[in-house]
């Protein structure tokens, strides 16, 4: 896969491209029953983030939760004009429960931007993205970036139920065409989604795919990329220690072009990999 442009809008300049950004919480409100949107005002280094990168968040200690390690969160919104960053998160365990307690004015210590994000081939005409659950958070800024570069964006959002679908607005505002599927009405079956994409491809050829949030969607994406001979990328998750490539806790097996398997760090070598590199789970 040759890459000639990256999703990075502004080159992170200066001696320290990453920092422990001391951000100020603007809002932290529920988006639906499971997800919340955390908006913060961030210092300059934080604002150099680009699609697919993440921040490592220091979660506060609360009456019930004492998360020791930081928690990784994809950058969901990069609003450089207002100097704001947005995170879309699902309340899962103690770290995210603790994040929930942050209110406007509180400080959020966010190390980043971290990792290698999406690398959009120059001249891409039509990006198709398929995502499920919180994977949407990771793809939203890619949609905006691609649209800004003049590419058409088709986003397929998958969820268990229609009321758990999110980010339609965020994606449409970014200029994406949005298709929603869900398990309840059966529209989210991979083969159906594949057919849907084939139809779209037949109309306006897709030349780049991105995915995040589900093994089945990764398989589907990998298959279609092979079918069409186009590049595809996936944002991978792993439990993290440091987030800075130092502890080697977050490794996943990755296959190189010759099929040799190697452990790579999701936080430093990723979290975005080629769909062909990441071995199946």
């Amino acid at each position: 896969m040759t890459m000639t442009a990256t999703a990075q809008a502004e080159a992170p300049a200066g001696r320290f491209p990453r920092a422990e950004n001391r951000c100020r919480v603007v809002s932290n409100d529920p988006v639906n029953a499971e997800y919340r949107l955390l908006l913060v005002e961030a210092p300059a280094t934080g604002l150099t983030a680009y699609a697919g990168q993440f921040f490592h968040l220091l979660c506060p200690t609360t009456h019930t939760d004492q998360p020791f390690l930081r928690r990784p969160m994809s950058i969901y919104r990069i609003d450089r004009e207002n100097r704001r960053l947005g995170f879309l998160y699902k309340v899962t365990g103690k770290g995210t429960r603790a994040l929930m307690t942050l209110g406007p004015g509180d400080e959020l210590n966010a190390t980043g931007p971290l990792g290698v994000g999406f690398d959009l081939p120059a001249g891409t005409q039509h990006v198709a993205m398929v995502a499920r659950g919180v994977g949407l958070a990771t793809l939203a800024p890619l949609a905006r970036f691609a649209a800004e570069r003049g590419a058409r964006v088709t986003a397929i959002l998958s969820a268990r139920a229609p009321d758990l679908l999110m980010s339609r607005d965020e994606l449409e505002a970014a200029g994406a065409g949005v298709i929603e599927v869900n398990d309840l009405d059966g529209t989210s079956k991979p083969e159906d989604v594949a057919d849907r994409l084939r139809e779209i491809h037949a109309e306006v050829p897709i030349d780049f795919m991105a995915t995040c949030g589900s093994n089945r969607l990764l398989g589907l994406t990998r298959g279609l990329c092979a079918e069409w001979g186009i590049p595809g990328q996936v944002a991978v998750e792993a439990f993290m220690g440091c987030g800075l490539g130092m502890c080697f806790a977050c490794v996943v097996p990755v296959r190189d072009a010759e099929g040799k398997e190697e452990m790579k760090r999701v936080c430093y070598d990723g979290p975005v990999f080629s769909v062909n590199e990441v071995t199946t789970w």
Partner: protein, 314 residues
């Protein structure tokens, strides 16, 4: 002006704070001014190439972590051609760290990486992740001494012996490696631990056992540093559970000549720099001219007025 410099096991450092092996990598340079550190300690390498153990590799506690990584290693050539050049440019002395499966390989590897850009070599005889249920070189005083002897025979660089805390008598281990010619001891590596998921009835780590690190281990390692410092004449480097400048002072009072910060770097990247500043302030405030004066300056009960200190009648 407080003189923060220390000379430890043949290495002169502008301050006593360095990272513990395996707790920084290239990524740290994106966030922290590595030029401010007393030394830059590299992650352990082995003669062979290793991918490390099966994930999951980390479990989290209130103020500790249980890691089992298994020393992924790109070998000595990568170290000399990539890692050392990368870290050499920041200024502080660069300390390599090696591990191997046999005494001979320890010796050979030490010789192989002997290089003017490396200021000293740590002998990681204590890594708890390599052996099932954690038997390690460092649990055997004879094998530990042999490792040091072999390394000294193959290199002119100072050798720092990194002890394992998983022994009954750490002072004895310190004496053994001192006898074999070690230039300093590092007390200590991680304490072996295990984590179980009651719901799945399985171990939480891919490797079943891992090394307990982070603030929770401080009382144990502090005690061991004190025991080592009383047992040997070579400098003791404190390592385990250090998170703040106050911790650095406590370790030095217990007998350490310098310290290494590990797990804390994963959570607070600025911890090393902040610790250096805190220690400088502390010395200023206390009228201590040289930070090295702190080493072993703990006043034991015999040295002080023996009043009851645990209760006050009101």
């Amino acid at each position: 002006m407080v003189d923060l410099s220390v000379t430890v096991g043949g290495v002169r450092m502008k301050n006593p704070v360095m990272p513990a092996s395996g707790s920084i990598a290239e990524g740290m340079a994106d966030v922290v001014d590595l030029g401010r550190l007393g030394a830059i300690v590299l992650k352990t390498i082995t003669p062979d190439l290793r991918q490390g153990v099966k994930p999951p590799r980390v479990v989290e506690y209130t103020d500790a972590t249980l890691f089992s990584i298994g020393i992924p290693s790109k070998g000595p050539d990568y170290l000399l051609n990539h890692t050392v050049p990368f870290f050499d440019k920041f200024g502080p002395p660069v300390i390599a760290s090696i591990s191997a499966d046999t005494v001979e390989d320890f010796g050979k590897l030490a010789g192989y990486i002997t290089d003017p850009r490396i200021a000293a070599i740590e002998a990681n005889i204590s890594c708890p992740n390599l052996r099932a249920h954690g038997r390690a070189f460092g649990m055997d005083p004879v094998a530990s001494a042999q490792v040091i002897t072999a390394m000294k025979a193959n290199t002119t660089l100072p050798i720092w012996a990194k002890l394992t805390p998983n022994v009954g008598d750490i002072a004895e281990m310190a004496r053994c490696v001192e006898g074999a010619g070690a230039d300093a001891v590092i007390t200590a590596n991680a304490i072996l631990g295990m984590a179980i998921d009651a719901e799945t009835m399985t171990p939480r780590l891919g490797n079943v056992v891992g090394g307990l690190t982070g603030p929770a281990v401080k009382p144990v390692i502090l005690r061991m540093v004190n025991q080592c410092a009383e047992a040997v004449k070579i400098p003791v480097i404190g390592c385990g559970g250090i998170a703040t400048g106050e911790d650095v002072v406590e370790y030095m009072l217990a007998g350490a000549s310098a310290v290494q910060i590990g797990t804390t770097n994963f959570v607070h990247t600025s911890a090393m720099e902040q610790s250096i500043d805190w220690v400088a302030d502390y010395c200023t405030r206390k009228g201590i001219a040289r930070v090295s004066d702190l080493t072993g300056a703990l006043m034991l009960p015999g040295d002080q007025p023996s009043e009851q200190r645990g209760a006050v009648a009101l």
